[in-house]
Amino acid sequence: MLHLLEALLYNPGVPLAGLAAKARALWAARGLPSPVLDLVFQLAIAATVSGFITVNALFIIWFDRKISALMQLRKGPNRVGPFGLLQTLADTLKLLSKEDINPLRIDPLAFWLAPLLVFIPSFAVFLVIPFGNGLIAGDLNIGILYILAISGLSVIGILSAGWGSNNKYSLIGGLRSAAQMVSYEVPMMLAILPVVMLTGSMRMGAIVDAQAGYGWFAFMQPVAFVIFLIAGNAEVNRAPFDLPEAESELVAGFNTEYSAMKFSIFFLAEYTNLFLTSAIAASLFLGGWEGPLLPPVVWFFLKTYFVITLLCWARWTFPRIRVDQLMQFSWKYLLPIALLNLLVSAAAMKLL
């Protein structure tokens, strides 16, 4: 039994493949069509991933609130459950039981689809996240490109939320987030390019393998790492770039008119996006699940939560940027530096 557990932790690819082969043999013996079995496998993976997402999102919300409490001389949630761990669960149950208000004269299609349009992209990106050395849902060989393409979709959700809720504050919030997302995709892409050039492939698995033995890209590409963190922070609409839902200016930005279930989906999507950006940052720059002693899955979570702490730290320290400065910062500072870094690393690779 210990042997199976040890194999499952350190090299999960092998036992899972064995299990799948046994199941397929059993299935074929009965003479049933094999594509149905593939479908069952995919559904199983999807179920585990969605279960993981909800639990993880609840944990990150609690983690964010505990970090902010740590920095603000207070205790953070400690009433519901041990150390307040069940606090987010209690909040979710409360949100589910609240009345789902649909304001007058909303654009119903845009208003109802918006939460889904924001949540589905962050759900879909989990396909290529390398949790462990075998634990990857579908190791597409265009991994990074897939991530960037899909994460660009959530802008549509926020825009339709802004337009659908027939509220001036939401409209301004929605339009701000469109401008912000678009203008921060470009530096993010340019920050990823050196990594792709170094590994020669866009497959996430290949990128993580290329960083084996402490060849972390964060050391080789420190500038790209910082730019990716800043642009990722902006993609996720978190301070100091939280203009779309700026509490002090736009009341609650694009999710002003949302209540109960829809609002909890927005909230879930925001924190899942935060986890995704940190997971990608960890995999691309900090060596994903590469690590000496501990099993790969634990390394992956350690590094991801380290990046989440960095983003939370920035959130609770900095004031908010104004809209025109947001644009200026991206096009005048991030972009030139990212391009320069790209050229320098290309030249360096050519010479070395």
Partner: protein, 375 residues
Amino acid sequence: MPVQAPFELEKLSNKEYILNMGPQHPSTHGVLRVVLKLEGELVKDVFPDVGYIHSGVEKLCENRTYPAIVPYLDRLDYLGAVNLEWAYVLAVEKLCGIQVPERAEYIRVILAELNRIMSHLLWYSAFGMDVGALTPIFYAFREREEIIALMEAATGGRLTHNALRIGGFRSDLPKDFLPGLGRFLSSFERKVDEYEALLIDNVILKARTKGVGALDPELAVSYGVTGPSLRGSGPAWDLRRTAPYSVYGKLDFRVPTSEGRDTWSRLKVRMDEMRESAKILRQAAGALPSGEVSAKTPRVLKPAPGEAYSRVESPRGEFGAWVVSDGSERPYRVKFRSPSFSNLSVLREIAVGCNIADIIAIMGSLDLVIPEIDR
């Protein structure tokens, strides 16, 4: 029907729209409605609409006895309550010709300056939240809680102190007040530097506030702007120095000003003012004479017919109380000149042309307290 802004009645071009900021809005610091004519995010016109929390204090005071009015003053500006009480009490003492003993004067200075620091600390944290930084409020409130504990020990109230009486004080400072004050002052300046590093010198905040809401001095004086908002544009007019009342003439302190005229310089002036208040507190605590804390006043106060106006430098500017007496035990007419009233009226001159985020920063830098405007 709420008041219609003048530009609401005109025809709007298709790019412009009207946005109601308030009366229920997270960063109007109270019940204030600002109607904005916007084009995209650019502000074309501003119309502040006040009066949502008007409680007719001046009519109330006309049928209260003179000493019973003091608690109403705390409700006008609950952040700088002692200063406001001081303005009214000074006016009544001028009317009745009461001479307040020296010790009471120094205790009034101590409580007023503690109140000023309390008010600036709350302004600092509210401004941080308006600009999006959610952490400064917790640090500033740690200091503010220490001051509140001191004030509660001395006066009994945390915000609405009701400390002053006509003629001095009802009872002297408690035993552990001065040591507590000393402990607080010993580490206060270091904390102010820390606050400045966290927010005021932050490059994002500087980008948000430099050159925003420029207020030129002549316009400010013509609009009756007073206090740190005026001193951010140059003139060093502080009533504690230009028209010294009580014992401020004997205390030596600098009036911080800045030539920047924009939102950031108003922030800097308030941070320096906190340091100056700490300096005043040290001197006043050191020079505190012993003796009586209250002059002899008749049980039922009936001042001779006449009128008196007295000014006080409240944390927001010049707060004045104009008291008219007709010889009875109730004032004939009372007028409170509140600083936020005039400070808000200048918003239209400095806020046109900026965008929504700047309006919030500018209103934050004017440090408005709404009950003081509506009275």
